[in-house]
């Protein structure tokens, strides 16, 4: 214990402001930026596997950097295709001939790790560099995000040392047990043409479900207690499926996000089923509040999602 402090004093004396351990955390943050830049600036195509709870699903992902178009095709189970063009995500469901449309609002494009979010990340996670190892044929640098409390999961990210592309991402719980992972089994950087990101379906006769998201204040609704480290990102109304407007509040700790959906009970025409469901690292908790169905969807441990749901309150304005 004495050693590190003495070393830190030496560093200060030598004019460097940071101790070696601090420098390591800074290196890890730099790697996160590198991953983000690669995700944003590279064209790539690849096949990846999503594993959770003993299941695995294979998908193809293709991104064309010029034009900022990205296409995701889920190859297992019910056919689904998602195409994002700059600020709009379209989800094509060929079996039901439905296309769901999510448009970003002008004040909010896709989330990016801005410097202030990186510092918020650093206050909720211990961020460090892990080992360098080969993953899917790429030499990868591991970046480890260990949660500082049990309100969030931990992450191990493996990024290609050459390009910064995220090749593998593992989510772990507080005990270190793997909850889910994404991993490229094949990845080709570059060589993407406009043809490869074009939606496959002719949708002229399909039903269009536009989410019509509108940022707003959800009057009367709030959380009675905040979950440490999570702050509100956005508050909006939207449509879901064919339902009447649904309220959505989104909270984030810099990496994990939790959405609170609020809809009048009559909308779905069925009583709210209180309880918890899960899918990989995502938990969904439903409960009834003031004749509304509150559904919390979050990439966080069950207890955190439940705490969010239990904190939702309505006060007549």
């Amino acid at each position: 214990m004495t050693g590190w402090r003495a070393a830190a004093v030496l560093c200060l004396a030598a004019g460097t402001a940071h101790a070696p351990l601090y420098a390591q955390a800074a290196d890890a943050l730099t790697w996160l930026r590198k991953i983000q830049d690669a995700t944003r600036n590279l064209s790539y195509s690849g096949t990846f596997v999503y594993q959770h709870g003993g299941r695995s699903e294979t998908s193809r992902i293709t991104r064309l950097a010029t034009g900022d178009i990205e296409r995701l095709e889920v190859l297992d189970g019910m056919p689904r295709e998602l195409v994002r063009t700059r600020d709009t995500v379209r989800c094509y469901l060929p079996e039901s001939k439905v296309v769901k449309v999510e448009r970003r609002t002008a004040d909010r494009t896709f989330p990016a790790l801005l410097p202030e979010q990186l510092s918020s990340l650093a206050s909720n996670y211990d961020i460090s560099l892990g080992e360098v190892r080969r993953v899917g044929g790429f030499e990868c640098q591991a970046v480890v995000l260990a949660p500082k409390d049990n309100l969030r999961y931990g992450y191990r990210l493996y990024a290609d040392t050459a390009s910064g592309m995220l090749v593998r991402a593992v989510t772990v719980d507080a005990a270190g047990k793997q909850i889910e992972q994404f991993m490229f089994t094949q990845l080709d950087i570059g060589h993407v043409t406009a043809d490869m990101v074009r939606p496959r379906h002719a949708t002229s006769s399909w039903r269009v479900e536009d989410a019509a998201t509108t940022p707003t204040r959800l009057t009367g609704w709030s959380l009675s207690a905040d979950l440490p480290g999570f702050h509100k990102v956005i508050e909006l109304t939207r449509r879901m499926g064919e339902s009447k407007p649904v309220g959505q509040l989104v909270y984030s700790d810099g990496l994990a996000a939790v959405s609170v959906f609020i809809e009048p009970l009559a909308v779905r025409g069925e009583p709210a089923r209180t309880g918890l469901a899960s899918l990989g690292a995502i938990h969904i908790y439903t409960r009834e509040v003031a004749n509304h169905m509150v559904t919390v969807v979050g990439e966080a441990p069950a207890a955190s999602v439940q705490r969010f749901a239990n904190a939702v309150q309505y006060q007549r304005p």
Binding site: L113, V144, P147, L166, A277, I282
Partner: protein, 168 residues
């Protein structure tokens, strides 16, 4: 001297050794300087805003001016100054521990969270995914900062099974 002050900050001293170290900090100007320097380093490492010049002196003066309310169960044989020093040392030790955990990158996930209360309270009723789960997941995913690290990949987190009955 520096070793014992560092150990004091880390809460590694007990009994007599702690008393001696505290006494040293109180009486010896150089020891007091070392104590302050170590805190400065600690604050810099943890990016805590640095306290203004003379903060300690002003707080001490204010504390001395505070009226004493009640002191039930006064510890025998310790002066108020010692008690204050112990409390200060304890809180500093706590900061030291948090800082140590925060900057120990070698053993990431198994830190003390593992010992905290289990993630799912036992009373939780498990239900199957709501019928509209995919709508919720789609609506949620776009706001996850993970998208900035992984692009569209997190969008695969939808329910893969066909619903038993077509939804409409």
């Amino acid at each position: 001297m520096n070793e014992s002050i560092s150990a004091l900050m880390d809460g590694e001293l007990e009994g007599r050794a702690a008393d001696e170290a505290l006494e040293l900090v109180r009486r010896d100007g150089m020891a007091a300087d070392t104590w302050r320097l170590y805190h400065l380093v600690s604050d810099a490492m943890h990016e805590q805003p640095l306290l203004s010049e003379g903060f300690t002196r002003r707080v001490s003066a204010r504390l001395a001016a505070e009226p004493t309310v009640l002191a039930p169960g006064r510890l025998p044989g310790r002066t108020p100054a010692q008690r204050f020093a112990y409390a200060a040392a304890a809180s500093v030790a706590a900061v030291g521990l948090v800082g140590w955990l925060a900057f120990t990158p070698q053993r990431p996930v198994e830190v003390p969270v593992a010992k905290a209360d289990p993630v799912a309270p036992p009373a939780l009723r498990a239900v199957s995914l709501p019928e509209a789960a995919n709508d919720y997941l789609l609506a949620h995913q776009g706001f996850s900062p993970r998208v900035s690290l992984q692009g569209m990949a997190p969008y695969v987190r939808t329910v893969a099974e066909r619903p038993d009955e077509p939804s409409k």
